[in-house]
Amino acid sequence: MEDRVVWKRAPVIIAFLCNWCSYAGADLAGTSRQQYPPSVRVIRVPCSGRVNPIYIIKALADGADGVMVSGCHPGDCHYLAGNMYARRRFAVLKKLLEISGMEPDRVHFTWVSASEGTRFAEVVRDVTDKVRALGPNALADGGSRYEL
């Protein structure tokens, strides 16, 4: 029998959402009364290309249980190509985190457009389920700073 994951608090997922698509998508999810878990802490960024990989590393080192980054679909970037630079960066970062032994399901990247409120809710539900299955972030030694 496999070990049961014990949560003494709700999982904390830091979500970096691009101002032009995903933040509006999250807004739409709210205004259209989509249900999703309250585990995400949204940080609005101008573009997914603005997300420095160190933000994600730092979030994990400081005890966040999961990180998700969402931007415009490729080709729809408000700044033309910001999300495509971000795509390479995130692919490499994900590989790097895998190499250093981080569970791959802690970090998620995706594209959510301003009209995809349903997709945003679906992503958050799925990411929360995956992070919940992994248990609290054990890589950070100090324990979570987000004790609730």
Binding site: I54, I57, K95, E98, P104, A140
Partner: protein, 280 residues
């Protein structure tokens, strides 16, 4: 012995370059003071200084961080150093015309105990891919390597991080760490926690690995500089392999290339993304 013939050829070439005024200085390796030391970097500026240049199995340091000197500079370059110089040119850190690469055929350098260095044992490069002069040796061009990557696990990473004392020697030795202010030294925003715990080490090493993604030339300067024997290069090596496979890019091979992380394409795959790897 081939080192001696290469050394003689190198001294003759550098003496000629300095005499003719083709270059103002030559960055190279000097004679070591003790058999356990590595050859220190020296800059020869006059013709008679060319006789001080050394080439032996302890020419360990990567000389690329010493560029650029004033005026046109020749650099004595192992294949890894030459790749570092090429990548600095690709990243517009030094102008192509300011540097003359003297490519030394290299069979790998050794440690103080006479055994090959870890990076050199893993290196298949024998000749600089881009060079203005080649000081040849009879060694074969490339050799096949055994797989020394080992497993990628959280335990391995934590064990390596336990040894790290956050002295930042790896950063100082690295040719690619040329930022005026390293993110690890920043106070605003303060990325590094004051306490040198696992979180600080993880932020530093993963952050540095991200900065070196697609730029590492695997010279091993970081691990040679490390005082506590951390295998700091293994995570970067995994990323380098991924970038080579996914984007077909190796740092310092092509002088006309554009840096891999500073380019993008609609045809890139969504590797590791939520919802699969498909193209959109």
């Amino acid at each position: 012995m081939s080192f001696e013939t290469q050394q003689k050829e190198l001294r003759d070439l550098c003496a000629a370059l300095l005499r003719d005024g083709a270059v103002e200085s030559v960055i190279g390796f000097g004679e070591r003071s003790d058999s356990c030391c590595v050859c220190p970097p020296i800059a020869a500026k006059r013709e008679k200084d060319a006789g001080k240049l050394a080439w032996n199995s302890r020419c360990v340091p990567n000389l690329a961080p010493y560029l650029p000197l004033r005026g046109k500079t020749a650099i004595v370059a192992k294949p890894c150093d030459a790749r570092a110089v090429v990548n600095l040119i690709v990243e517009r850190q030094i102008p192509r015309e300011s540097v003359r690469i003297i490519g030394m055929d290299c069979a790998g350098m050794t440690g103080a105990d006479g055994n090959p260095l870890r990076a050199c044992a893993e290196c298949g490069e024998r000749r600089a891919p881009v060079a203005d002069d080649i000081i040849a040796n009879e060694i074969s061009s490339r050799r096949e390597l055994e797989d020394t990557r080992g497993e990628y696990s959280a335990k391995r990473f934590k064990d390596e991080m336990k040894k790290c004392i956050l002295c930042f020697s790896c950063r100082q030795a690295c040719y690619g760490c040329y930022c005026q202010t390293c993110f690890a030294d920043r106070v605003l925003p303060n990325w590094q926690p004051a306490e040198p715990g696992f979180g600080a080490k993880m932020t530093y090493h993963l952050g540095r690995a991200m900065h070196l993604a697609g730029r590492c030339v695997e010279c091993g300067a970081c691990e040679n500089a490390c005082a506590s024997g951390v295998d700091v290069r293994y995570i970067i090596r995994g990323v380098t392999e991924f970038i080579e496979k996914e984007y077909g890019f190796r740092a310092g091979i092509d002088i006309e290339a554009s840096p891999v992380m500073q380019s993008c394409s609609m045809d890139d795959r969504n590797v590791g993304f939520w919802g699969g790897d498909e193209r959109e």
